[in-house]
């Protein structure tokens, strides 16, 4: 089964539109990888490059060390599932699944056993004789998946496969899809605009922006240890504190934010350098300023707004350096903060990330 390797892949449309730039990464055999990023980030182009419907302008793609230059689309052993169910409405579920092996010229007995296995695998064997128009949306997608499995594809490419399903069904289908891919030993690459879906379903998630790969990692890597400003911003929500490193020796570095000094994770930024400290909005703890607390790792500030949102509360706080940060707290947090109230924002150094200050400013790193 294939390992897929992209090596410095660039795709330019027309003369100048660089949809994908210098993309290199490896998808291991049997891995479930999702691609996420803002619209126009190159995720769909990447999927099309893997499918072979477009070819790289520069760079190369390897399936098990075989360059795709010498590998026809058919020999890539790929199956697709799109948001809008590409199945034949005039064929039954069984006939749809049998299409692939038939085209490949398989014997009748082989086709029967492949289709039987595929329909069982996607749990639609009880509807084998039905035509798609009489099926529900999830069953259309199951039929599309059955066709991929019956065709003995080893790589499954999914483009917003759950896009047309209701929110409630999506959750169940995510688990179903992941189990299916794992049981069938497929390698899956899944494009979605839904972060929660990507984080739930995948072994690894690739964050893309402006045609480039920003970070490839597990859900917990991306949430708890993002290795750059964009990931901290795009996956979940973070506040960014502009600071200067004043001590860099220990596990924790000391940085100056406005008039205050706080400890943050030491990520190798040298003393005297400007840094951006990223803190997840859920990781701040907020206390009244006069409260005695056990730590001195906090930033003082003044409450701008304490907004109740049911699901949680968002508290906006203006720091001494006039920066406004927004933190998320439990809806039932015992204190309701008043406007202009002085507070302490406690920061757990272990939960912070500390990045080099981008030359063109923090906003430049967040551009999508």
């Amino acid at each position: 089964m294939p390992e897929i390797r992209l090596q410095s892949v660039t795709k330019i449309f027309g003369r100048k539109v660089e949809a994908v730039k210098d993309l290199s990464f490896i998808i291991e055999d049997g891995e479930y990888v999702s691609l996420i990023g803002p619209s126009g980030c190159g995720k769909t182009t990447t999927l099309r490059l893997l499918a072979g419907t477009i070819i790289p302008t520069h760079g190369n793609i390897y399936f098990d060390d075989k360059s795709v230059e010498n590998l026809s689309i058919r020999d890539r052993n790929i199956g697709f599932v799109f948001q809008h169910f590409a199945i034949f409405p005039h064929l039954t579920v069984w006939e749809n699944a049998a299409y692939g092996p038939k085209v490949k010229g398989r014997k009748k007995s082989e086709i029967d056993s492949l289709v039987e296995h595929a329909l069982k695998a996607v749990q639609i064997d009880d509807k084998a004789e039905l035509y798609p128009p009489s099926l529900s949306a999830p069953d259309w997608q199951k039929t599309a998946l059955a066709r991929v499995i019956a065709s003995e594809a080893k790589v499954l490419l999914l483009d917003e496969p759950l896009g047309a399903l209701d929110q409630k069904i999506r959750g169940e289908f995510q688990i179903f899809l992941r189990d299916l891919v794992k049981n069938e030993g497929l390698t899956a690459i899944h494009v979605t605009h839904d972060q929660a879906e990507a984080l739930t379903i995948s072994d690894k998630v690739a964050v893309m922006n402006k045609g480039r790969l920003v970070q490839l990692g597990s859900a917990s890597d991306l949430i708890f240890t993002p290795n750059n400003i964009f990931t901290s911003f795009f996956v979940g929500e973070s506040d960014f504190l502009e600071s200067v490193v004043i001590k860099d020796r220990e596990t924790f570095a000391e940085v100056r934010v406005g008039q205050s000094t706080i400890k943050v994770k030491n990520m190798g930024i040298a003393r005297g350098k400007r840094a951006v400290v990223a803190v997840r909005r859920e990781f701040f703890k907020v206390h009244k300023y006069e409260d005695k607390i056990e730590t001195d790792n906090f930033l003082p500030g003044v409450v701008v707004r304490d907004q109740f949102l049911g699901l949680l509360r968002r508290v906006k706080v203006k720091l001494e350096n006039q920066q406004i940060v927004e933190i998320k707290i439990h809806a039932k947090h015992p204190i309701r903060f008043k406007e202009h109230e002085k507070v302490k924002l406690v920061i757990d150094p272990a939960s912070t990330r500390c990045f080099e200050y981008p030359e063109a400013g923090v906003a430049s790193a967040l551009e999508m």
Partner: protein, 365 residues
């Protein structure tokens, strides 16, 4: 600048009901969210306010003055649609200046206002770009600038952020509210997204099948949903069935041999449905029991947990029921599958409804 009133507004499309008997007042400078699923009458309401449709019955009043018969162009309403509806062959700036030009307003003044709008909306530099050269978020900002630039004092938005990626949506929600408040506009914003409604609005009107089923501040609606429909629409919940026990001025819900303290006026012995919003189902380790201050604490087992960004979605099992919980990721609870934990709630966390209402509600949906 404008107080908007809908007085018993009904709109039928032939036989089909769009909205029926809508009564609504939006104070000057207030931001109202119209919240409901597809087909609940949100868009009809937006079109009626903007004058793009006429009601079958009822009156629309701006500052107490009946404008029901006034055409859209005389109402000074800025309209933003889900699909930006920009003129594709005009630059961003020309799109924004279209209204002022048609209305014959002073062009140099309007240019000045347009420039300020571009700056306020962070799209300075995009003035000469055509719509297909800018992102969805930028297009919607241009549409907003266009809606506001010709002295609109009422902003009507029909699910304006729906077509955008989650991240841009989140950013624009904050910008939208700030803009509306900075310019002291009155605003009515339709959405199907509860968090969006709560994030932007001062008041929320919850729609169902062409009628308003609840109206109030976000906090009022969230804390006291009037029906199972509203409670479920607001977010993920756990649904439990039990019997009410009234005892010494305290109310309880009895489920099997478990006794939850709740708040309710329902009579002793009533069969009731309780909905617990997932975010209010709190989880603690067993060793924390002593220091917890909750009305109800029971033991439960974690059966599944997944991290979906800001929350862990956790499924618990206790007394043969699956309980859905959401925990903010900053909380330090080891959430491993199979571990025994404490499931803690306060009496105010239960949304209690008599069972009959539930059945009626299900039929209506």
């Amino acid at each position: 600048m404008v107080k908007l009133e809908l007085d018993n507004i009904t709109k039928y499309y032939g036989e089909r009901r769009g909205v029926e008997n809508i009564n609504l007042t939006i104070e000057d400078g207030e931001y109202l969210a119209v919240l409901g699923p597809t087909g609940s009458g949100k868009t009809t309401t937006m079109y009626l306010v903007a004058g793009l449709l006429s009601p079958s019955e009822g009156r629309i009043l701006f500052n107490g003055e009946d404008v029901t018969k006034e055409p859209s162009e005389d109402r000074n309403v800025g309209f933003v649609f889900e699909e930006y509806n920009l003129f594709p062959r005009m630059s961003a700036e020309s799109n924004v200046l279209f209204g002022p030009i048609v209305k014959g307003l002073d062009l140099s003044d309007s240019r000045q206002v347009a420039r300020e709008m571009f700056s306020l909306l962070n799209i300075t530099g995009k003035e000469l770009n055509f719509p297909d050269e800018i992102s969805g978020g930028q297009k919607q900002r241009v549409a907003l600038a266009r809606a506001i630039v010709s002295n609109a004092n009422l902003l009507v938005m029909d699910d304006p952020l729906r077509a955008l990626d989650a991240k841009i949506r989140e950013i624009l929600q904050v910008e939208l509210r700030n803009l509306v408040k900075d310019l002291s506009l009155t605003c009515i914003h339709a959405t199907h997204d509860t968090q969006e409604a709560m994030r932007v609005a001062d008041k929320i009107a919850v729609f169902k099948d062409g009628a308003i089923v609840q109206f109030g501040t976000p906090e009022e609606v969230y804390n006291n949903p009037v029906s199972i429909y509203v409670a479920k629409f607001l977010g993920e919940t756990t649904e439990l069935e039990g019997t009410i026990l009234q005892e010494k001025n305290q109310s309880f819900l009895i489920i099997e041999d478990i006794k939850f303290e709740i708040e309710t006026d329902l009579k002793h012995g009533t069969k009731a449905v309780a909905l617990i919003p997932a975010e209010l189902a709190d989880i603690y380790t067993l060793s924390e029991r002593e220091k917890l201050n909750y009305d109800n604490i029971i033991e439960a087992e974690i059966i599944s947990t997944k991290c979906v960004g800001e929350f862990y979605d956790v499924d618990l099992v206790a007394f043969n029921q699956v309980i859905k919980a959401k925990e903010l990721i900053g909380k330090n609870v080891p959430l491993t599958e199979g571990s025994k934990v404490l499931f803690a709630t306060d009496k105010g966390d239960f949304r209690i409804f008599p069972v009959e209402e539930d059945e009626k509600d299900e039929k209506e949906i």
